[in-house]
């Protein structure tokens, strides 16, 4: 379940940030109590916390963007994938692929969430924080989310009244983000 959707401009400043407050997402499990405690250790402000999460995910987006496609095959998913020769294949793929894939895969993971990234060709970055739940989301689901977000963003950019790079204030975009966050 997506708990935070963020759009980051090309100069690394956020232009859209929407997160679900953790308060309305109570969970009885021990690990959630723990994680909440962990959060309180730094700050109680969850909104702020998401900002931190996304900000540090930027590091990895930059890394991925730098290495380009060659890294995506190899570093892409920190979750288990038993590819013995993954490194070799990845590097070969990198040379062959002329265009970078927009979807950057999982960027970071914590106990309670995973962060996924997507970067358009104009260096607009989308970051979605997915809460780690018992029902894991498939890679494809996440790709779909990003594709949806991207097309919503394209629509937004097509609006002549939207100044590119300014913070996003659009009902339609909001609606798309809401639908993403509610998992539709």
């Amino acid at each position: 379940m997506a708990v935070c959707v963020c759009v980051i401009g090309k100069d690394n400043g956020p232009i859209y940030m929407r997160s679900r407050s953790r308060a309305d997402e109570l969970s009885q499990t021990v690990e959630h109590n723990l994680s909440q405690m962990a959060f309180r250790g730094v700050t109680a402000n969850t909104e702020l916390q998401y900002n931190f999460i996304v900000s540090s995910a930027l590091d990895i987006i930059e890394e991925r963007a730098l290495v380009g496609s060659s890294a995506s095959g190899y570093k892409g998913n920190p979750s288990l994938h038993p590819s013995a020769s993954g490194g070799a294949v990845g590097s070969i793929d990198g040379q062959q692929l002329a265009t970078r894939e927009l979807y950057l895969g999982a960027l970071t993971a914590r106990e309670e969430y995973k962060v996924y990234g997507y970067m358009t060709n104009t260096k607009i970055k989308f970051v979605i924080v997915i809460e780690e739940t018992s029902i894991p989301l498939r890679e494809n689901d996440i790709r779909t989310m990003f594709r949806k977000l991207h097309s919503a963003f394209c629509d937004l950019m097509s609006n002549p009244f939207y100044l590119p790079g300014s913070s996003i204030n659009s009902k339609r975009f909001d609606a798309v983000v809401t639908s993403i966050m509610s998992g539709q």
Binding site: A38, T43, P82, A109
Partner: protein
């Protein structure tokens, strides 16, 4: 103990014993190609089997036992490790008879028992000793070997091998040994292949039943692990790992599904044991692992233990393959996954913080393994920090070094990883460090170890119970006293290992230590922070590092060590500001403010408060709070000399700056009005005591030559060092200017790479490099001039001037084929510019000695317009450099403005002009004229004089009373700057005899009161009239006519004309005026006046010039009359000859007719006595009128007689009244005079009046030609023809 493939032996034991050493040695020496079913890749396997005696009971019984658990009928294999994979029979029987009698039966019974085993692969080895051979030589064909083959292996002859003479060292026996070994390996592997295929089939069948009731994962796990063990034993680690990964995935799937459907029974056991959180141990200690295995077998394993075990096995296999990087990569997700599973399975732990303990210890364990691998294969010996440092070092030193450290990595099979490990290690470890740090913090919080909390007894209790739960099988010996004794089974085995490792801290001990006391906790926590941050920075994840830094800062703030916190906060602030991540920036600012306040750093506190107060994202109450804080603080430090200087950046935004100025110095100074349109972000109005804008001279020269060498005009923060190098290079190049730009760039690049190359060699320490990077970013790189230059560079277009070059391409025949312009600095000119130019945070105060300022201005929130005033005293070009806004002792400085806003101030020198009057000045009369004085930047005080000097013949006068003179001083009125005053005075230009209408030019030398230099002004006078004369003759009488022509619009009254002879004997010459004496004439332009006098000729000797003076008075209205004089000079004007000519028709005809020849008579009469006797005449006529026949030119001698007649024939050419042909006389001086002065005859013209032509204007009537039939034309029709009429000219 190590697992090995098992081979049984039976038969002749002595024979086997003799061969076994060479077998043991030889069998593993060569790899065997293992071809496998299902198209799996072929592996090369080294076999190191163990030989055990064949014991039918043991082998078969164990089989029956194990198989009875699952499938009794088919008795499929459930264990593999204890299976003998090959059965061998050894014999040295050489005698066929013996064979037949005993050996055959023995083999047969052995074979029978083998057939009853699970693995039925067998091999019979016949050892031929040398002495045996000799006896057998006679019967080679029916050897024992053949017999054996025949009896037992008719179809599988390869199952019988003959080993010849193993003791001997000759080639034959070596070869036979070799082939025997080969056979042995082949069969062993074939046996494995067969067995494993069967095993896998069974395994798969088992797996397919996983959803059936009664299925137990634990049992299946053990089954598949068996396979993994075998693969591991055979050295096929990657496939062994695959087995574990499959198990892992299967288990994960079960756990995930359990959430959705009913939890299977077997899974319930995993949920137990919430009172223990055993730490992960990656030590290759089989005892500890087998301990867990035992619990798996009993289905009493806890989730954590199971996961620990699984991961430990995976890690082990990864390490064996030197895939440390993958291990690092997997570990974080392993930890996360575990926690997730704990949650899904609702494993309740007895103590809060248990999971944190587990995570922390596991993190450290993994880290120590990753970092320690290669140096200490057993792991967990050195402390992780040391390992990290060394690993960082090793990473910096690059790949080659890395290979040395991990020699195993030279294995070509895993070649790609060598390239990965060096750089990628820390990508994964960084997270682990961070994770461990986080967990330690949580634990510290739980146990009351944070700076602010006081440890209480329940905290202590917590520590103890947390530590108690942390049992590890590995360290059971330590824990047996306070643990609950479940692990005591392994104590005997584990203790020996623990003793060895006691020297270093295990992760568990570390945790226990850390939780034991506050200082230790702090030490560990800080250490972890440092490591996490360092590793993040090392891999270039600055933001993550900043996040850790912020946590650390929070910790320091809690510990009230604010000074330490500030550094981290400032770093974070920079990073977030760079990203323009306002939410984070505000968060950091709030913390910073807290720190500064606590430390008492007023200056920074004020700055931070201002920044916070301007943050729009914050709610207004907080903004107001910080605004108040700022103001109170400012009030406190008021009266202090010190000023708090800060960039305006966020507080005030200067939108536009407008400069209003005339640009001219008015007296001393020039007023400049600067209108600043500024936007205040402060939440409330603020009183600024002084707003100023620095005005600096705009110096084109300082900017232009030095700037071009800055390759880009983007002074982005953090490139300070580069800028410096740039600067240096540039100085070396001097004023080379644009040409140097590219080379500068190149050197810069070189420099960069040099740094890159240099640092690993010199230090090899990642941290040092990092710190250097940091310091470079912090360096206050720019001086004032640099900054200005950069600012100029932003705007000055000449910086990016294109250097275009013409380029012509010629064809072979040297004609131009193509011409083009090439830009050489295209890279620079077309360089993509950073659209977000960020100024350095540090704003340097420029020279505020000359300012436009305004005092005590209230700046309201939002837009403000502030008007600043300045007075510029000296001329020049100025620019606005910086705006400073002072609020009490707080001075906010805007970024440099470069040359965007500039203005000129000039000093205007006064000017003098001649006023143009409506009518031009007229010479000869006195007139008023005026000069205009434009004061410019000067002013004229009352009483100042304007000194005027006139050129010759020009006279001046200040006013009516004074005398005319050539030099005057005109007093001036008071006049301010940039005004005009007039100086009036009288002028009179002398009027001489004026023969034409040309203007008379005069000069005025004027000296202004404000300068000592004289200005030359030129003025033009128009003459009122011009005069000319004419001499007229009538025969001998002479008349002189003087004509005046008016030239001006002004009307003049002319009177009193007179003509007098300026001669000694003037009275003798009578001049008879023909005009009345009192005649007065008005004259203006376009009008002429003539005066006439008759000169009494007879009294005059005209050899000498006769000078006549004409004088008259002219008067402009109401002005005094002026005298005008004109001189006439006459010489040789008396009449000497008179010419009279007439044309007559020839005799017989009465009229002149066109075409008829006529006679022309020219009479020349002589008066007086001319010494020259010869005259030359010339008759000239228009060819259309007259045709002159005969001699038109001739010389006449005028000796004696007074009159000479010349007759010419002329013919009229057209009818009508024709003027007579003109006769021209001149003196003829013949060539052969005595004097001999000239050999050529000469002509000398007469002067005016000496020859009088009496018939000058006379005409003759010519009739048209006769109508013509007859030759008698001349006489016919005479009736109507008129007589020739000769009209006399008036003279």
């Amino acid at each position: 103990m190590e697992n090995k493939p098992l081979i049984t032996y039976s038969g002749d034991l002595a024979v086997f014993q003799s061969v076994v050493p060479s077998l043991q040695k030889g069998i593993g020496s060569e790899a065997v190609e293992w071809k496998r079913a299902y198209g799996r890749t072929t592996k090369h396997v080294h076999l190191h089997p163990r030989f055990i005696p064949f014991n039918q009971e043991e082998i078969c019984v164990s089989n029956v036992d194990s198989s009875s658990i699952s499938v009794p009928e088919q008795a499929p294999l459930t264990t593999l490790l204890d299976q003998a994979m090959l059965h061998t029979y050894w014999t040295d029987c050489v005698d066929v008879e013996v064979y037949r009698s005993t050996t055959k039966d023995a083999i047969q019974s052995w074979l029978n028992s083998v057939k009853s085993c699970n693995v039925r692969e067998w091999l019979i080895i016949l050892v031929e000793t040398p002495d045996n051979k000799k006896t057998n030589k006679l019967l080679p064909r029916s050897s024992v070997l053949d017999k054996i083959k025949n009896d037992f292996a008719q179809k599988q002859t390869e199952r019988c091998v003959c080993l010849s003479d193993p003791q001997k060292l000759d080639s034959k026996s070596a070869e036979s040994l070799h082939s025997m070994l080969h056979r042995l390996r082949q069969l062993l592997l074939a046996s494995y292949s067969k067995t494993l295929t069967k095993f896998e089939e069974n395994m798969r069948a088992q797996r397919e039943r996983r959803n059936e009731a009664g299925w137990n994962f634990c049992h299946y796990f053990l089954l598949q692990e068996e396979l993994a063990f075998v693969l591991e034993m055979l050295g096929v680690y990657d496939e062994a790992l695959v087995q574990y990964d499959e198990l892992d995935a299967l288990f994960t799937q079960f756990v995930l599904n359990s959430h959705l459907t009913d939890t299977p029974q077997w899974l319930l056991s995993f949920q137990r044991y919430g009172d223990r959180w055993p730490a992960l141990s990656l030590a290759t200690n089989l005892a500890c692992l087998s301990e867990i295995r035992e619990t798996v077998r009993n289905s009493t394993v806890s989730l954590l233990n199971f996961r620990n075990y699984l991961f430990a096995r995976q890690a082990l296999l990864l390490i064996k393959q030197n895939r440390l990087n993958e291990l690092a990569q997997r570990s974080l997700s392993f930890l996360h996954n575990c926690i997730n599973e704990l949650a899904i399975l609702d494993v309740a732990f007895s103590e809060e913080g248990a999971v944190s303990c587990w995570v922390f210890v596991s993190c450290l364990e993994i880290l120590s393994t990753i970092c320690g691998h290669g140096q200490t294969p057993t792991g967990a010996v050195t402390s992780p920090q040391n390992n990290l440092k060394s690993s960082l070092e090793s990473q910096d030193k690059g790949q080659s070094h890395n290979n040395k450290q991990h020699p195993n990595q030279a294995n070509p099979q895993h070649h790609p990883y060598i390239f990965m490990t060096a750089s990628d290690f820390s990508v994964h470890t960084a997270h682990l460090w961070d994770y461990a740090r986080e967990k330690l913090y949580e634990l510290g919080k739980l146990c009351g170890l944070l700076p602010k909390s006081q440890p209480k007894s329940d905290h202590l209790h917590k520590v103890i119970s947390l530590a108690a739960g942390l049992v590890c099988f590995d360290s059971a010996a330590h824990n047996s006293t306070n643990g609950n004794g479940t692990t005591s089974v392994s104590s005997s085995e584990g203790s020996s290992d623990n003793l060895e490792e006691a020297a270093a801290e295990t992760p568990i001990e570390k945790l226990k230590n850390a939780l034991s006391s506050k200082p230790l906790f702090q030490q560990y926590y800080l250490e972890l922070c440092e490591l996490a941050m360092g590793t993040y920075k090392h891999i270039g994840r600055l933001r993550s590092a900043r996040k850790v830094g912020l946590s650390l800062a929070s910790y320091y703030m809690e510990a009230e060590e604010f000074n330490k916190a500030v550094g981290f906060l400032v770093d974070a602030l920079k990073t977030f500001t760079n990203d323009r991540w306002t939410v984070l920036v505000i968060d950091v600012l709030l913390k910073l403010a807290e720190c500064y306040q606590a430390v008492g750093d007023n200056e920074r506190y004020i700055r931070t408060c201002a920044q916070i107060a301007c943050s729009k994202q914050l709610e207004s109450s907080r903004r107001n709070h910080f605004f108040d804080e700022m103001m109170t603080c400012l009030t406190e430090i008021e009266g202090n000399d010190r000023f708090v200087i800060s960039p305006t950046e966020e507080t005030f935004i200067i939108n536009t700056v407008k400069i209003d100025t005339l640009g001219k110095i008015h007296l001393e100074s020039c007023n400049v009005r600067v209108t600043v349109d500024l936007y205040s972000n402060l939440p409330r109005p603020v009183l600024s005591n002084c707003v100023q804008a620095a005005i600096l001279p705009y110096d084109n020269h300082t900017g232009a030559p030095s700037v071009p060498t800055f390759p880009t005009c983007a002074p982005v923060k953090g490139k300070g060092q580069q800028k410096h190098t740039n600067k240096k290079v540039q100085q070396n190049q001097g004023a080379e200017g644009k040409g140097g730009a590219r080379t500068t760039l190149a050197t810069n690049n070189e420099n960069d790479t040099a740094v890159g190359r240099h640092s690993p060699n010199s230090s090899g320490d990642g941290k040092e490099r990092l710190s250097r990077k940091e310091s470079a970013a912090l360096a206050p790189a720019l001086t004032c001039e640099d900054e200005d230059n950069l600012a100029i560079g932003d705007i000055n277009p000449s910086v990016l001037r294109l250097s275009l070059m013409q380029q012509l391409e010629t064809k072979q025949d040297k004609s131009v084929h193509m011409g083009r312009l090439m830009c050489h600095n295209i890279h620079q000119a077309l360089r993509r510019k950073d659209s977000q130019v960020k100024a350095d945070v540090q704003v340097l105060k420029t020279d505020f000695s000359q300012v436009a300022k305004a005092n005590d201005i209230i700046i309201n929130p939002g837009a403000n317009v502030i008007v600043l005033e300045a007075k510029i005293t000296s001329p020049g070009t100025y620019r606005l450099c910086q705006v400073s806004i002072g609020v009490k002792n707080f001075e906010l400085l805007s970024p440099r403005m470069g040359c965007k806003y500039h203005f000129d101030v000039e000093k205007v020198i006064g000017k003098i002009d001649v006023d143009s009057l409506e009518s031009s000045l007229i010479a000869g009369i006195e007139q008023m004229m005026s000069l205009s004085l434009h004061t410019g930047s000067n002013s004229i005080e009352k009483g100042m004089m304007l000194y005027i000097r006139a050129s010759v013949d020009l006279q001046l006068r200040v006013d009516g009373s004074s005398e005319m003179c050539s030099e005057i001083a005109v007093p001036l009125e008071y006049t301010g700057a940039f005004a005009t005053t007039k100086a009036r005075f009288w002028v009179k230009a002398a009027l001489g005899p004026q023969k034409d209408n040309s203007m008379i030019e005069h000069k005025l030398m004027v000296r202004c009161p404000w300068s000592i230099e004289e200005t030359k002004l030129s003025i033009l006078f128009v003459p009122p009239f011009m005069s000319s004369y004419k001499l007229n003759s009538v025969g001998q009488r002479k008349f002189i006519q003087v004509m005046l022509q008016g030239l001006t619009e002004t009307q003049f009254l002319i009177a009193d004309h007179s003509l007098s002879v300026q001669h000694k004997n003037a009275e003798n010459i009578p001049l008879v005026p023909l005009n009345p004496r009192s005649q007065q004439i008005k004259l203006r332009t376009g009008q002429n006046v003539s005066y006439m006098w008759e000169i009494g000729v007879t009294e005059v000797e005209d050899d000498h010039p006769l000078r006549l003076e004409f004088s008259m008075k002219f008067q402009c209205e109401n002005k005094s009359a002026e005298l005008y004089k004109y001189y006439v000079c006459l010489q040789r004007f008396k009449t000497l000859y008179e010419v009279k000519s007439r044309v007559e028709p020839h005799k017989g005809s009465e009229f002149c007719r066109v075409g008829n020849m006529c006679s022309m008579f020219v009479d020349i009469t002589k008066f007086g006595s001319d010494v020259h006797l010869s005259l030359m005449y010339e008759v000239r006529a228009d060819q259309h009128l007259w045709a002159i026949c005969g001699r038109s030119t001739g010389v006449v001698l005028m000796e004696g007689n007074a009159t000479q007649q010349i007759v010419l024939d002329v013919m009229p050419m057209s009818p009508g009244f024709l003027p007579l042909p003109a006769v021209h006389l001149s003196r003829y001086i013949p060539a052969d005079q005595k004097s001999g002065s000239s050999s050529v005859p000469k002509l000398e013209p007469f002067s005016v009046g000496q020859v009088f032509n009496r018939s000058k204007a006379s005409q003759i009537h010519v009739l048209p030609p006769q109508q013509s039939s007859g030759s008698t034309s001349g006489l016919s029709g005479g009736s109507n023809s008129s007589l020739p009429v000769v009209t006399d000219s008036p003279f």
